[in-house]
Symmetry: C2
Subunit: 441 residues, 2 copies
C-alpha cells in the first residue's frame, strides 16, 4: 500500500470534529477506497482546551495554523476556519504556496477568492478542492466538474440554502407567518441567531457563483449575483401560490445568454420563486438542498441531499481527501479546480434580465378603498403587462389593508418592473409590492 | 496542451452515433475541460454502409473490432456493442489485454463479468469505466465511487428502469391497465418490441448489482438479485395504493446485514413497491431514473435524471473519457473500477429476507362467494400477520371475481410468505396473490 496521505486540519468546530469522527469511524473502508491511509498528523484551532468530543491527543497541535500548514510531514491542509478573508485566506494562500493540497468547506472564501486560489494551486501544481463549500453532503461540485463535464450546461438552478427552505416549507405546512417561523427555526437550531446570511440569500449566492463558474467556465462573479431574500414573504403569499398550483422556494439560478454580437453574458440570481407543484424542487422540504443542471446531452440532472450539518459536510471534505489520495498516489495530478484552467476562465459580462420573458406573481398590499384595483390594473395595462389571474380576497386585514395577488402572463420582465415603477409612491399601496418569478421547466 | 486522447469506438447504434455527435458538438469545451483533445481515430460496427447521420469518413474503419482495439494509435476503446458475452466481451478482454483503457455502456457485461474485467484492468494498469452502464446520464457510478466514498453506505435503492417507470406512472395517470399501457409505450418508443428485459426487472437488476458492488465493496452478484417485474400489477392495485397514500414503483434495493457471527450478507432485490406519496421517488414519473444512497455521514443522497437515450448515455460515456483524459495526462492512474481493488472485493453471502420486517400490501382476486374473506383473514391470523387495513370493493368483476386488497402491519416478511403459502391452491383464489412491500424511509 502507498504511503499515508498526511493531513493537517485547521478549525475544530462541529465540521472539524465531524471530519475526525468520520476518519475514525470509517477508517478501514477509507483505507480500502483511497488505497492508502488518510492520516491526520496535526490540528489547529483557536482554543486548545475546548472539549470537542474527539480525542485530539494523537495529533500534533500548532497554535499557528499557517506554520502548521507548511510542516514537512503534511500533504494536505483542510481549512475549516471560515470567513472569506482573514485567517482562512492567509492559511489557504500559505498552504498552497508551500505546495500542499488544500481542501476547504469555505464557500465565502471560494466565492470571493476562488479564481486567485485556483491559479495559485495550478501554478504550484497542487490540488484545491471545495466539494463541501456547495450544498453540504451532495457531491455537486464533482457532478458538475466531472459527472456532467461532457455537456454544455444550459442552466443551473436549485435550492441552495437549507435554512430558507426549512422556513418556507414550514410556513407552507403550518400556515404561520415568516417572523414566527424564523423564531421557531432558531429555537430548533435550523437558523442561526443572526440569520441574515441565510435568509437574505447571501449563502445561496456564494454557492451559485461557485457552481456557475464550474458549469459555464466563467470567472467566479459573486458580486454579479442579483440577490433577494425571503423575509418579505407572507403566509398569504404561500396560500395564494398554493391556490394557483405552486409552492414558494428560494431559487438560485444561473444561465448564459449570447448577445447579438455573440458575446456571452452570465445571469445569476437568487430569488424566491413560484415552483409548479409537478416540479421535483416543489417536493424538497426542510433543510434539504437540491441542484438541477441542464446539459445539452444529459438533459435535466437533479442532485439532492442534506445541505449542511457536521456529518454531510464531513462527508464532502473526506470525499475530496479520497480524490487527492487516489489521484496523487502515483504522482498524478488532480486537474483544474474549476474544471478548466483558471487562465481560461474568462470574466463574463453580466446579463441584463429585463428582456427575459416569464410569468410573474405579484402581490400588493393596498388600502381598502374604491379605485385601488383600477389603479393597479391601469398600471399593468400601461406597462404592457397582461394579467392571467387575480385574487383579491374579501377578508379585510387590520388597518384597512387588503392583499391583491395576480399572475402576469408570459412577458418581458422589464414590463413588470415598469408597472411597479408606475405604482411607486402611490398612496394606495400600504407596503412595497412583492414580485416572484414562476419557475419554468 | 497534452497529446490528444485517441479513441476507438466499437458499435455505432444510436448511442455510438450520439457519442460522435457529442464529441463534435461540444469539441471546444471538451478540449478545455479535458486538457487535451478527445479524438476518435477508428470506428467499427457490423454494417459499414448504414447511414447514421454522422460523418464517419474522418475515421479509420476496421471490420475486426478486436484488431481495431489493439491499434498502436489508440489509447481508449469505447465498447457500445452490447450483450453480456460474445463480441462485446471478446472486445473488452482484448482491449484491456492490449493495455487500452476501456469505456463501456454495457450493463449486462459489467453485471456478469465486471470483477474479472476489473481485475484484468488493474493488472494491466489501465482504466475500466462504465458510468453509462447505470442510469444513463446520471453520474451515479461516480457519485457512489467518489462523491459518497467517505461513507459506509447503509442502503442503495431507486428507480432503475425507465420503461417500467414510464408504464407505472402512465397507468397511474390514465387508470389504464398494464397490457394497454405497455402497448401504447411500445407505439411511442418507450418500450422495446420485446420488453421482457425491462418489465421483468432484469435491466434494473443489472444496474442494482453494479451499484451494490461499488457501494458495499462486494463482488458483483447479479445472480443474487431477487427479481420480480411489473406485469402482474393491475390498474386496481394502483388505484388502491393511491387510496392508501402510495404510488407503485419498481424499486431496486440493496443493503447489507450483519449476521450473529458478524458475517455480512447482501440483500439485493428488484420488486414493485408501494412508495409513500411524501417520498422523493413518488414524484419520479416517466422514463426517469432516480437513485438514493444512504451514507452513514452524508445521510440520504438522491440522484435523478434520464435513464436512457442516446444523449444522456453519450453524456456518461464522454464523462468517462474526460476522466481518463484528465487523469492519465501525466501518467497518473485512474483507480479501481469498483472503488476498491478487485482483489479486496469479497464474495458476500446472500441475505435471507424472511426475518426482515416491514409493511406489505397484499392483493387477492377471489371468487365472489360467502366465506372467502374469512378464509383469507384466517390464513393471515394463522401466519401471525396482523391486518392494518382491508378494502374489498363492492364492484363485481367479470366472471364473479372480486379484488381484496389489504395492508399488513409491520412484521416479518416470512409471516406474509407463510400466509400466502397457506392459501396456495385454495380454489377461492382466481389468480395468484400479489404482494408488494411498502418502502420505508
Amino acid at each position: 500500500m502507498a504511503e499515508p496521505l498526511r493531513i493537517a486540519l485547521a478549525g475544530l468546530g462541529t465540521v472539524g470534529a465531524g471530519v475526525i469522527r468520520l476518519l475514525d469511524t470509517n477508517a478501514a473502508l477509507l483505507r480500502a477506497r483511497a488505497g492508502r491511509e488518510l492520516q491526520v498528523v496535526a490540528v489547529s484551532a483557536r482554543d486548545r482546551d475546548k472539549d470537542r468530543g474527539v480525542d485530539l491527543s494523537r495529533f500534533a497541535w500548532d497554535d499557528d495554523m499557517t506554520a502548521m500548514a507548511a510542516r514537512d510531514d503534511v500533504d494536505v491542509v483542510v481549512e475549516l476556519v471560515g470567513g472569506a478573508d482573514g485567517p482562512a485566506l492567509t492559511l489557504a494562500r500559505g498552504a498552497i504556496a508551500a505546495g500542499k493540497a488544500l481542501v476547504t468547506a469555505n464557500k465565502a472564501m471560494i466565492a470571493h477568492h476562488g479564481p486567485a486560489l485556483a491559479e495559485a494551486a495550478e501554478t504550484a501544481g497542487t490540488a484545491l478542492k471545495f466539494e463541501a463549500a456547495v450544498a453540504g453532503g451532495i457531491p455537486v461540485v464533482k457532478a458538475l466538474r466531472e459527472g456532467a463535464a461532457a455537456n454544455a450546461i444550459e442552466r443551473i438552478y436549485g435550492i441552495l440554502n437549507g435554512t430558507s427552505n426549512y422556513i418556507l416549507s414550514t410556513m407552507e405546512a403550518t400556515g404561520a407567518d415568516f417572523a414566527d417561523t424564523l423564531a421557531e427555526a432558531q429555537r430548533q437550531g435550523f437558523a442561526e441567531a443572526d440569520p441574515a446570511f441565510d435568509i437574505e440569500g447571501t449563502d445561496a449566492a456564494h454557492k451559485l457563483a461557485i457552481l456557475a463558474a464550474i458549469g459555464f467556465g466563467s470567472r467566479v462573479d459573486f458580486a454579479g449575483v442579483d440577490c433577494e431574500g425571503i423575509a418579505r414573504i407572507r403566509a398569504e403569499d404561500i396560500a395564494r401560490a398554493e391556490t394557483l398550483g405552486y409552492v414558494v422556494r428560494l431559487i438560485g439560478m444561473a444561465d448564459v445568454e449570447t448577445g447579438p454580437d455573440g458575446t456571452p453574458a452570465l445571469l445569476q440570481r437568487v430569488k424566491p420563486c413560484l415552483v409548479p407543484r409537478g416540479h421535483p424542487l416543489a417536493h424538497v422540504t426542510g433543510a434539504t438542498n437540491a441542484v438541477v443542471a441542464e446539459g445539452n446531452f444529459s438533459g435535466r440532472l437533479l442532485f439532492q441531499g442534506a445541505g449542511a450539518g457536521a456529518g454531510p459536510t464531513a462527508s464532502a471534505v473526506v470525499a475530496d481527501l479520497i480524490d487527492i489520495a487516489r489521484q496523487t498516489k502515483e504522482g498524478g495530478e488532480i486537474g483544474a479546480p474549476f474544471s478548466i484552467p483558471s487562465a481560461e476562465m474568462a470574466p463574463m459580462a453580466r446579463a441584463e434580465s429585463g428582456h427575459r420573458t416569464g410569468r410573474t406573481y405579484l402581490r400588493f398590499t393596498v388600502a381598502d378603498r374604491p379605485g385601488v384595483l383600477a389603479e393597479l390594473t391601469a398600471a399593468m395595462r400601461d406597462a404592457g403587462v397582461s394579467i392571467e389571474s387575480l385574487i383579491q380576497q374579501g377578508r379585510q386585514e387590520e388597518g384597512g389593508e387588503v392583499l391583491v395577488a395576480m399572475v402576469a402572463h408570459e412577458g418581458p420582465e422589464r414590463n413588470v418592473a415598469h408597472a411597479l415603477e408606475l405604482l411607486r409612491g402611490s398612496d394606495s399601496l400600504t407596503a412595497p409590492p412583492l414580485s416572484m418569478q414562476i419557475l419554468e421547466g
